[in-house]
């Protein structure tokens, strides 16, 4: 006996309908923020890719802060949860990482990114969704101009460029410097401009201004051109992966002057590729273990070493400080509502962090001192502190 056609069709429709509603349910389930106990805070940073050093250091710093606050009983009587998402160093990944943190994990605030280009991408999402974001270490001024929900706990590039320009002019007595900037990075472009303006202001000459793109591995044409102008130093405001390759290529081409750079050099991989191509060169950063004098900084240093068995760099210290500033805001807001956290963040005063006292100004930026580090064969050595 065969089933009548009509009944068969209706059964199939029923099946399709059931499957459809199941699917819709599953999708709705996936889209709905998870209801987790405690307060969730997101972290987006590059845990893999060409800037993995940045994300890993930052995550270590933030993790330390979260573990400490939870051990001390959490905030508002609740435990805190740090949810990390990888951006792989790509801006479209940054956008989707932030979206995922907000929509799926239901975070009340976001920490990240390190690279300014990615912070600009992620910041736009945070601003649109009205979730406060604290960038630990994006130094390009445009990052916090995205909107009133975006904050940072580090100095900005006009200051950093000025520090390195004065250092090159007055401490190293250079008057001929070449610039080598990363065209694909907002950070590098901004810092190169800041350095150029400051260096010219203090009486130096920028003899050449060449560019590359992050991800490039071949720089000989630009280096050949720069060396033709016989600079005493080359300022490379890039990220460590390319900086190491550039230095290697330039040393091979016979360059014997200094390399100078910014906090994008920060990371253990800078000096990884055997030779001593960068030894004796200088860059500016936010924190140096040897420069840590304040008690908060000293105790951060000890606990970080005990937890991760390595010295923290500037990015780790800033990751820690971003978390501290956020905790302070949640505590003062007395609530985990994103809008109230934002309001409290805007009035951040004198939070004692690993990198110094943090006060956020009307532009939602921190005004902080910088340290100048010298590259050694095994890492870095503290050279001096420069106050704003």
């Amino acid at each position: 006996m065969t089933t009548p056609p009509s009944s068969r069709r209706s059964r199939r429709e029923l099946l399709v309908g059931a499957a459809g509603s199941l699917l819709a349910g599953a999708v709705a389930q996936a889209c709905k923020p998870k209801r987790q106990s405690g307060i969730s805070v997101g972290l987006y940073c590059s845990l893999t890719g060409a800037q993995a050093d940045f994300g890993i250091s930052t995550r270590n710093g933030a993790t330390l802060a979260f573990e400490e606050i939870n051990r001390a009983g959490g905030l508002l009587g609740q435990q805190l949860r740090l949810v990390a998402e990888d951006t792989r160093g790509e801006s479209n990944e940054a956008t989707s990482a932030v979206t995922r943190l907000i929509d799926r994990e239901g975070v009340v605030a976001v920490i990240g990114e390190i690279a300014s280009t990615l912070s600009l991408a992620g910041g736009r999402v945070c601003q649109r969704k009205r979730i406060p974001m604290v960038s630990p270490s994006s130094t390009n001024p445009a990052v916090t101009q995205v909107g009133d929900y975006i904050f940072r706990v580090c100095f900005i590039d006009p200051f950093q460029g000025d520090v390195m320009a004065r250092f090159a002019r007055t401490d190293l007595h250079f008057d001929r410097v070449a610039l080598f900037r990363d065209q694909a990075s907002a950070y590098s472009m901004g810092l190169a401009d800041a350095f150029r303006d400051a260096f010219v202001r203090v009486g130096g000459t920028v003899v050449d201004d060449q560019s590359y793109r992050s991800g490039d591995t071949h720089f000989s044409a630009q280096i050949t051109s720069m060396l033709g102008h016989q600079p005493q130093a080359i300022f490379v405001p890039g990220y460590y992966t390319e900086v190491a390759l550039i230095a290697r290529e330039a040393r091979g081409a016979g360059f014997t002057g200094k390399f100078l750079g910014g906090d994008g050099w920060s990371g253990p991989s800078l000096t990884q590729n055997d030779d001593d191509k960068l030894v004796g060169d200088f860059f500016s950063d936010a924190f140096a273990p040897e420069g840590a004098e304040a008690p908060v900084a000293r105790s951060f240093l000890d606990r970080y070493r005990a937890r991760f068995h390595t010295d923290p760099n500037g990015l780790a210290a800033l990751g820690y400080d971003a978390a501290l500033v956020l905790f302070d805001a949640i505590r003062r807001a007395g609530s985990a509502e994103p809008a109230r956290i934002r309001a409290a963040l805007a009035s951040t005063r004198d939070v004692q962090g690993a990198t110094g006292a943090i006060t956020l100004n009307a532009q939602r930026d921190a005004v902080k001192s910088a340290v100048i580090l010298e590259v050694t064969s095994s890492g870095t050595r503290f050279h001096k502190t420069v106050n704003p």
């Binding site: 044409a221 050949t224 590729n273």
Partner: protein
């Protein structure tokens, strides 16, 4: 070209196009000339760098051209085989205790072992891909193997991300880098060695194709696969050998590339691979001396363009060569219209 085609007046576009291209190429050429006159030493350095870079492109271009020669297939996975070669070198060196982080202990012996490991690994990978991805679709319409090649390329890239992770690795310094002065021009020993190794491999390949039985079989297949089979050529075996050889050259290219630009990640084959492909087309795809010439020219163009025009335009200029070649002289510099392949 048949007599009828020759008699037909050539269309206007064919006569005007070369003139337009020449006119467009004039300003950049003048800029390079101006720079060369202003600073001859810098220009000489750029030439040495460009030739060294071109040697690596030529090695990779040979793989494209050989496979195209015998099968008429553009093997897009070739650039990823190149990347796997660089990783094979990293692992081989690590086996001998040389890693990117370790200082000291580098010897020519370890360098040779890296080359051998990379060439063998790539040859095996190339033959594997041929056997399981291309052979089943060999007789399918032309588009099918092409799409398969793109798929294989993505597969290798993504598996590499899983296996090697997407964080870039430094290439082990199996050869100590030092600066060599050629008169007023300072270059690293690695660049000179790269050029030497590339030329040596190209000579070896030419010998193999022109003077050995396998080479003769390859040439026979490139002329007519079916006829070659009817004459008793083991076509499957010879095609596999062709893939193996081309991939081995890509592996060697991967090592040379890694020594010169020591940052390897799962996508680092893409850009050099595309440029090598342009080199193969420029030289006349399917033509071995053409691939060598094309590689050297592309290396030179890339270097001069980034030195005297703009480093961010250099890739655009390289790829516009592809467009120009396809428009003006699709058979390439050394190719003939009725092509003798391989």
């Amino acid at each position: 070209m048949t007599a009828a085609a020759a008699a037909r007046p050539r269309p206007l576009s064919e006569r005007v196009l070369p003139a337009v291209v020449a006119l467009l190429a004039l300003p950049p050429a003048l800029m390079v000339l101006k720079g060369a006159i202003a600073n001859p030493v810098t220009f000489a350095r750029n030439l040495v760098e460009g030739v060294s870079l071109g040697g690596v492109y030529a090695l990779v271009a040979l793989g494209y051209t050989m496979v195209y020669g015998v099968l008429g297939l553009i093997n897009f996975a070739h650039s990823d085989v190149f990347m796997v070669g660089a990783y094979a070198g990293i692992y081989a060196a690590a086996w001998f205790g040389v890693t990117a982080t370790s200082a000291g202990q580098s010897s020519p012996g370890i360098a040779l072992a890296c080359f051998a490991a990379a060439m063998i690994a790539c040859a095996v990978l190339g033959m594997f891909v041929e056997r399981f991805a291309y052979r089943p679709v060999r007789n399918a319409p032309k588009l099918t193997p092409l799409v398969t090649a793109i798929g294989v390329s993505m597969l290798i890239q993504n598996v590499s991300m899983l296996v090697f992770s997407s964080t870039p690795r430094g290439f082990p310094p199996v050869i100590r880098s030092s600066t060599v002065s050629l008169g007023p021009v300072a270059v690293t020993n690695i660049k000179l060695m790269n050029l030497g190794a590339a030329l040596a491999l190209m000579v070896a390949l030419t010998f193999l194709v022109q003077r050995t039985r396998v080479g003769r079989a390859m040439r026979a297949i490139s002329t007519n696969l079916d006829a070659a089979r009817l004459m008793g050529v083991h076509t499957d075996r010879v095609i596999a050998i062709t893939f193996g050889l081309g991939s081995a050259l890509a592996g060697a290219g991967g090592i040379l590339f890694g020594l010169d630009q020591p940052k390897i990640d799962p996508l680092s084959g893409v850009q050099p691979g595309l440029k090598a492909f342009v080199a193969a087309v420029l030289g006349g795809i399917g033509n071995i001396p053409g691939a060598m010439l094309g590689g050297l020219l592309i290396g030179m163009v890339e270097q001069l363009a980034s030195a005297y025009l703009s480093s961010s335009f250099a890739p655009a200029i390289v790829f516009s060569i592809l467009v120009v070649v396809l428009l003006v002289r699709p058979q390439g510099l050394l190719g003939r219209v009725t092509r003798e392949k391989v």
